[in-house]
Symmetry: C2
Subunit: 319 residues, 2 copies
């Protein structure tokens, strides 16, 4: 089965590219299963690897220092990820995050956040990126997210926006503007409750959809993810795993897999978004099996196919 | 559609009865949506109502004081629930529990537990109950659960056992014996971790299945439920609801709906247990919509059908 068969078709039509904006960084991570220092991380990096299994035309926007390993950049390029929009700051240091996960692997403490070159990140889209049909705005300040959308030549087919509690707390006004400009908002359950003031996720979703997006994805970590539009709700479970080694990057791989699959299929109907939620969940279920990007870099199309069938077995029934 | 069509068939063959053992009681409940004093509760009562929507031949075993309202007993009888095994203690008071739920509705504090007549509960099965094919052992001391199994004339098709953290802590040895005698064990995620010493629910399930049961159901409240056997895992989501008024009885209605559906179909294959998990989840999704048994007593077969279709919409996809 040729999962990337769409590439053939694209040769005869306009290439629809997937723009991913976010961090490319270093992480130091401690979990109950071990400790890894200064490994490669970052939301855009994770999302690009995940999307790359479904789609070929990925344009990355990020910022790094000259400490970032060339070999990691060329690994991304080998997956068909274009790096023209990744700015390298000579003499600068890449964004660095250090965290320690609790035994339950759901909670974590941030030990270090060194913004470094990210502090001055003001992305300028290369001209060749400006016709992107699919846009994934990783968790960054709302101002950066808005700026990226405003640099596009035309309205994309789908803009997906990730954010976090920090921006809800300190930059609510620009965040609300960014949310109003996206098609799919993705946040976790706690953030959905903060943003809406509703405890019930059904009521929270109804309120948040009035802020502008057509679709809302509420991520619940090991408890799966909910997809809402005005009339429908769909639930994708998380795959129960023997061992979750490192949850870092799960949300990013989920988002990358989700939008990569939609870009591949070119279909933004609710039915296809349901499917994309499962394809994204499959990617999240791989990345957590090892530290950093180790697992997400080494899976095969056969692994993915098998995992998707596991999702079918896990959740399909007849009444 | 005749949901209870099995009754017709039963007239020509042996009636397979569903035995439910548990409490019939009073509760006082406070949730963010209000407070109700001395309303009817109890695990067997909830399970019997839920099972009664799928199956006609239900035999109840419990103990009550003479304070328990006759009208509530006759409501159960009208559903085809036989009460020969419900012992009424003249001059005794029914089991009483009072609790207050936190704002998240997942956590609760027990304010009062008055065992009353339950303190001397030593159920004697009526002869007419002893050929039960399906047995639901509600959360009681393991000694009572074992005693009920030992009074049966023959090995039932399926014995389902519910328990709780208290019995894991204070009566582990008899609990392990009871578990070894059941076919389906149902516990929550925290209890599965306690009982197995494993954090991963996949590893916890593998360990617990070695204790004897063929199937393990791990309940995760608003996050759904997992069904395991040696080779398979299935996940049933909880229905996202606008309003959860009172979570009391959700687990009991889930168990009653689950086993009621299996009794109706007479099929104990994994495929059918998956379906039963959804039928049980539907019952749980109703009972929480109002205080006590108010909602679970008043739903119709059309309500159930509609809710089951909602479950299909919520979780079914193609890859």
């Amino acid at each position: 089965m040729n999962w990337k068969g769409f590439g053939t078709f694209a040769a005869y039509s306009e290439i629809m590219s997937l723009l991913i904006v976010g961090t490319v960084a270093f992480d130091s991570i401690e979990t109950p299963f071990g400790k890894e220092e200064m490994i490669v991380g970052g939301s855009a990096q994770y999302a690009a690897y995940a999307a790359g299994y479904y789609y070929d035309h990925i344009d990355l926007v990020s910022i790094i220092g000259d400490d970032f390993p060339e070999s990691e950049l060329s690994d991304l390029e080998k997956r068909g990820v274009r790096l023209e929009g990744v700015k390298k700051v000579i003499g600068g240091k890449s964004f660095y995050w250090a965290g320690k996960y609790h035994d339950n692997l759901n909670d974590r403490d941030t030990l270090v956040t060194d913004l470094n070159v990210l502090a001055d990140f003001d992305p300028i889209l290369p001209d060749s990126y400006k016709d992107s049909e699919f846009v994934l705005l990783g968790n960054l300040t709302p101002d950066i997210q808005i700026s990226v959308i405003e640099q596009l030549n035309k309205t994309p087919k789908l803009v997906m926006l990730d954010t976090m509690n920090l921006w809800i707390n300190i930059t609510l006004e620009p965040l609300m503007k960014a949310i109003s400009m996206c098609d799919v908002l993705t946040i976790n359950d706690e953030e959905a409750r903060m943003l809406s003031g509703e405890h019930s996720l059904v009521l929270a979703a109804a309120k948040i959809l009035k802020f502008g997006p057509n679709y809302l994805i509420i991520k619940k970590g090991e408890h799966g993810a909910l997809l809402f539009d005005q009339n429908n709700v769909f639930f994708a479970p998380a795959m129960p795993l023997q061992k979750v080694v490192d949850p870092t990057g799960a949300g990013d791989c989920f988002a990358g897999g989700f939008l990569g699959y939609i870009a591949k299929s070119g279909d933004t109907s609710f039915e296809n978004l349901k499917r994309a939620l499962i394809y994204g969940s499959a990617m999240a279920s791989f990345v957590v099996e090892d530290f950093g990007n180790r697992r997400i870099k080494t899976i095969t199309q056969a692994d993915i196919r098998e995992r998707l069938i596991d999702f079918v077995r896990l959740s399909q029934f007849t009444i």
